[in-house]
C-alpha cells in the first residue's frame, strides 16, 4: 500500500507540468500586456513587469482597434447564425424524426453528405455569387452560408428520436397544429440540445477566420479574429505590449463565458463532438 501515494504524487506532478505548459501562453499574454517596450526587450522571462504599463498598453490597443465594433460584429454575426440555424434545423429534424415523411431517408443521405462539406469547399462559388450580387462586406454574406447547419439537423434528430411519442399524441388530441407542437412542445423539451448546440456554434463562428477573411475587406464588418489580424498587420510590428493587450481584450469574452458555464461548455462539446 506504500506505492499508492507515490503513484498519486507522480500523477499530480505530471498533470501539473502539463497544465503549466497549457497555461504558459496565457501567463505570458497577461504579463507582457503590462510591460513597457524596453521591459519586453530586456527581460522576457520576468513575469512581473518592472513598471506597470497595463493602462498605457490597453489605452493604445483600444485607441487603434475599434474594439466595440469588433465585439459587436462578433455578437451580431454569431447571434444571427445561431438563430437561423436553430429555426431552420428544428422543424426539419422534427419532421424527419416524428412524422411519416416519405423523403426522410433521402434527407438523411443529404445530411450525411452535408456533414462532409466544410465552408472551405464551398467558399469559391459562394464568393463568386456574393461578389456578383455586390453582397461582399455585409452581414448577409457573413451569415447566409451558415444559416443551414446539417450538423444541427443531425444532432436534433438524435435528440428528438429519443423523445416519447405520447407527448405528441397528447398535444395532437388537444388540437394543436404541427407548427404549434414544434413551437410549444418540441422546442421547450429540446432545451439541453439547443444549449449544447449554441455553444458549439458560437465557438466555431466566433473563432472562424477563413470566411470573414474572404468576404470582408472593411474594418466596419470585421469580426474579432479579422480585426485582430488587421491590427497586427497595420500597427503592431514589434509592439508586443499593445498587441498582447488587444489579444487579451479579444480573448476574454469567450473564456469568461467558458469559465462561468463550464459544465455546459464541456457537455456541449462532448455531446456535439461525439455525435458529429
Amino acid at each position: 500500500m506504500n506505492s499508492i501515494p507515490v503513484g498519486r504524487i507522480i500523477r499530480f506532478a505530471l498533470l501539473s507540468l502539463g497544465a503549466l505548459m497549457i497555461l504558459a501562453p496565457y501567463i505570458f499574454m497577461i504579463s507582457t500586456a503590462g510591460k513597457t517596450q524596453s521591459d519586453i526587450f530586456t527581460s522576457s522571462l520576468a513575469l512581473i513587469p518592472q513598471h506597470f504599463y497595463f493602462a498605457e498598453n490597453f489605452a493604445k490597443a483600444l485607441a487603434k482597434v475599434p474594439m466595440a465594433t469588433l465585439l459587436w460584429n462578433g455578437v451580431v454575426v454569431c447571434g444571427m447564425i445561431f438563430f437561423f440555424q436553430v429555426v431552420v434545423a428544428i422543424p426539419c429534424a422534427y419532421a424527419m424524426a416524428k412524422l411519416k415523411f416519405r423523403a426522410a431517408r433521402l434527407m438523411m443521405v443529404l445530411v450525411m453528405l452535408g456533414l462532409l462539406v466544410p465552408i472551405h469547399a464551398t467558399a469559391l462559388p459562394l464568393y463568386v455569387a456574393f461578389d456578383g450580387m455586390s453582397l461582399l462586406n455585409s452581414y448577409t454574406s457573413l451569415v447566409a452560408p451558415f444559416t443551414i447547419s446539417v450538423f444541427a439537423i443531425f444532432m436534433f434528430l438524435q435528440f428528438f428520436r429519443a423523445m416519447p411519442d405520447d407527448l405528441l399524441h397528447a398535444a395532437r388530441l388537444d388540437g394543436m397544429s404541427e407548427l404549434g407542437i414544434v413551437a410549444r412542445v418540441i422546442v421547450p423539451n429540446a432545451w439541453p440540445a439547443v444549449t449544447a448546440f449554441a455553444i458549439f456554434s458560437v465557438v466555431a463562428h466566433w473563432n472562424d477566420l477563413y470566411w470573414p477573411l474572404i468576404v470582408v475587406s472593411k474594418q466596419a464588418y470585421a469580426t474579432p479574429p479579422l480585426g485582430l489580424m488587421y491590427f497586427r498587420a497595420a500597427e503592431a510590428g514589434d509592439d508586443y505590449g499593445a498587441l498582447m493587450a488587444a489579444t487579451l481584450i479579444i480573448t476574454v469574452p469567450l473564456v469568461a463565458a467558458f469559465l462561468l458555464a463550464q459544465k455546459r461548455f464541456v457537455e456541449g462539446i462532448t455531446m456535439t463532438g461525439l455525435k458529429g
Partner: protein, 307 residues
Amino acid sequence: MSSVALAGDVAGAAALRARSENRTAWLLAAPAIVLLLLFVLLPVAAVIFLGFTDFELGYGKFRFVGFENYAHLLNDRTFRRSLWNTSVYTAIVAPVSIVLGLGVALLIEGEGRARGFFRTVYFLPVASLIVAMATVWQYIFHPTIGPLNALLSLAGIPGPNWLGASNTVLYSLSIIGIWQSVGFNMVLFLAGLTAIPRELYAAAHVDGAKSALDRFFLVTWPMLGPTTLFVVTISITNAVKVFETVKMLTDGGPNKASEVLLFTIYQEGFVYLRVGYASAMTVVFLAILVVLMLVQYRVLDRRVHYT
C-alpha cells in the same frame, strides 16, 4: 360486414392522415432543403464544374479546359509542397494530440479533488480565440525577445528561429496545433471513459488483471474503441484543415516551408482570383475528406464490438 366497412374506413382515414402528415413534413423541412441546396449542394456541384474551366474572377469569359487544371496540379511545385507540408503537419499533430489527450484523460480520471481544475485548464485553449493565441505564440517563439529562446539560452542552448526558419517552421506550427487540440481530445476521451461500466474493472480484477496496465489493455482500451476511432478521424480532419495559424503567423513562408492546403487554395482563389484552378485544388481537398470518411466507415464495420 359492418366491421369490414369500418376497417376500410379506418384504413382510408389512416391513409389520408399519412398523406397530410407527409405534406406537413415537407413544409417543415422545406426551408432546410432549400438552404441545403443553395449553400451546400449547388456550390459543391459548382466547384466540380469550375475545376474543369479556366474561370478567373474579373474576366467575363471562361472556357472548358477538361483535365488541364488537374494535369497542371500534378506538376505544380507549390501545390505538391503544400500537400507534403499538410501531411507532415497532420502526421505530427494528430498522433501526438491523441496520445497526450488520452494520457491526460486517464490521469484526470484517477484524480480526486483537483479533477475539475485540471479539466478546466486543459480545455481552456478550445474556448480561446485561436487567432489571438497565435499572436501570443508568435511572441513566445520570437527568436530574440521571446521567452522560449530566453529559457533555452539560460541552459546554454542557442534557440532556433522557430517560425522564421524553413527547417523549423512546420514543427513550431505543430506545437501550436498540439497545444490547441489536446484538451479537445481529452474531453472526448473523458466522456468515453465515464461510459465504461465499473463492473468490468471488478471483473477484470477477479480474472487476475492486477496492475493498472493490465486493466488498461483488458478493459479500457477495447471499450474506448469507438471513441478512439472518432477522435482519430476528427483529429486528422482538423489537422488537414489547418489555416488560421499559418495565415496569421507565416503566410506560408519562409520559402513556402509552411504552405498548407487551405492556405494555397486561399491564395490561388481569393488573392490571385484564379477560381478555376483553385476549384480543382478544392476538389482534391474534398476528395481527401471523402477518403478519410470512407476509411472511418471501413474500420467501424470491421471492428469487433465489445458492447
